[in-house]
């Protein structure tokens, strides 16, 4: 078992099709008790047993942190992804027992902020569902700006609008509505914190624009789970465990280690938390770094790799594991 990832046995109590791409899943404890408390922005890692394959995917909790009877997550179907979302959509049914991790928050609100400016793109809305519920319950000052493709695909746009009225601003791509980012950033009172969750390009745009407008790094929060990218298969020697393993095309290095019975620490499985950081003993080839954890210098040094999302191409790779 990995550090900080104590498991919970849960039962799926409901599966709701939200729109053509998104399904919502409700989990309650199989033993009937309350679930652990969490804060807005937290995620759980859902274990999926798909035949002989096992998948561990992180999903943001979107239910209110004030309710620990059940947890809910929303999953957007990705037909060209590695299969986790398809498994959730096609195989997970009401009544099924599953295993999820304790909640972990790598995208928490800074409650010292005078105001919270929340920016979501697409399915990146999910952590904000929980954060807005938390803030609204505590009388927090927030404003949500949400871009989605079309009204039909605007997941929870209607719910949010009903709950929070003018505090929610929605922009639809199909009618060319644009998030007025520059104006928003220029007009926030001192002490505002900015949160962004959405596609990688949107996160980059928001972070760069905020930096150019003089927003200190400490006030800009973002969450980007990079799903592990597929790539060429490669072989790895694990020096401490004295094992030789192969990483498949669709598998991450972390998953390959787990399949070989090694249990490296992890929290996010998306290249952001830093838990699975692994030292490189020697290598002959090229790293394909996909994480947001290591610095540019560390990426170039050839001394570290984040096995949850990063890959390798070349003759040999020896890791300290």
């Amino acid at each position: 078992m990995s550090a900080g990832t104590t498991k919970l046995n849960v039962t799926v109590t409901d599966v709701v099709a939200v729109n053509e791409l998104v399904k919502r899943f409700h989990f309650e404890r199989t033993d009937g008790g309350d679930l652990p408390t969490f804060s807005g922005g937290a995620h759980v890692v859902v274990e999926m047993r798909d035949g002989d394959k096992s998948r561990l995917n992180p999903y943001s909790l979107m239910s209110s942190p004030h309710n620990t009877r059940d947890y809910t997550i929303s999953v957007r179907r990705d037909d060209s992804g590695r299969g986790g979302s398809l498994f959730m959509h096609n195989h997970v049914k009401r009544g099924m027992e599953m295993v999820i991790s304790y909640p972990v928050n790598l995208f928490s609100l800074d409650l010292r902020a005078r105001k919270h400016l929340l920016v979501a793109g697409g399915i990146g809305i999910t952590p904000f569902m929980a954060q807005t519920a938390q803030l609204a319950g505590e009388g927090g000052n927030f404003e949500l700006h949400y871009t989605c493709r079309t009204p039909a695909l605007g997941t929870y746009a209607d719910v949010l609008h009903d709950r929070y009225g003018k505090r929610v601003n929605i922009y639809y791509d199909d009618t060319n509505e644009r998030l007025p980012l520059e104006r928003l950033l220029a007009s926030q009172p001192l002490g505002t914190h900015l949160y962004v969750c959405g596609p990688a390009g949107m996160i980059r745009w928001v972070r760069e624009t905020a930096a150019a407008h003089g927003w200190p790094d400490e006030t800009v929060h973002y969450e980007h789970f990079a799903a592990p990218q597929p790539g060429l298969p490669f072989d790895v020697t694990l020096a401490l465990s004295k094992l030789q393993i192969s990483v498949g095309e669709e598998q991450s290095l972390l998953e390959a280690m787990e399949a070989a019975g090694i249990d490296p620490p992890y929290l996010c499985r998306g290249g952001v938390c830093g838990q699975c950081e692994t030292n490189v003993v020697s290598y002959d080839g090229t790293f394909k770094h996909n994480d947001h954890w290591l610095t540019e210098a560390e990426h170039c040094s050839g001394k570290k790799i984040m096995p949850c999302v990063s890959r390798f191409e070349g003759k040999s790779l020896v890791l300290e594991r």
Partner: protein, 199 residues
Amino acid sequence: MPAKTILSRPVYGTLSPQTGKNHLFIADAEGAAAILDLAKKAPDGFFASAHIMFIPEMAGNQFQTALRTLKPAQFYEGPSVAAALPRLRQTLANAHMGLRLYLTGSEGLIGQAMQVALEAGIDHSSIQTEHRGSWARRVQCVHCKGITENVTTQPATCAHCGLLLLVRDHYSRRLAAFQGVCINAEDPSEIPQKEEIFR
């Protein structure tokens, strides 16, 4: 620069121009020289969106002309830190994100201006600081909670309750003061020699 003795003891840097929409400088006495040094590294037009609040204290009139030559959008000269703080509070209450804050001069000035900035919701790590001039300390007596300004000796006498205090490096950002603890609680007749060490 003092050695980092314990975690809370503030460590100051060197001012450098930040990316921002507006720039607010607060300086006392020799802190003015840090602003003038920053100006040498600043891009053209930087001070057109700057506001300088200057408290000359013992420096008299030696910096005002040079500071005004930077052509800041606003220049304020105040008689004391205490008089400048309400003005700072008001300025921050009306400010927007994109304002960058630069504090320079004595520890007391940096600490008190930072205290006001923290109350306005600015994270301490996004504030630029540079120490210049006096190392005199603001000290809170942990017994009576009174604050004594401009403490230069070790030990120091609490201006409120009269206890003889060991001035610690333990610093409170919330109070903008170092902590002073009675040095002779066991035997009040024991009176250690005062030495002037915070100059």
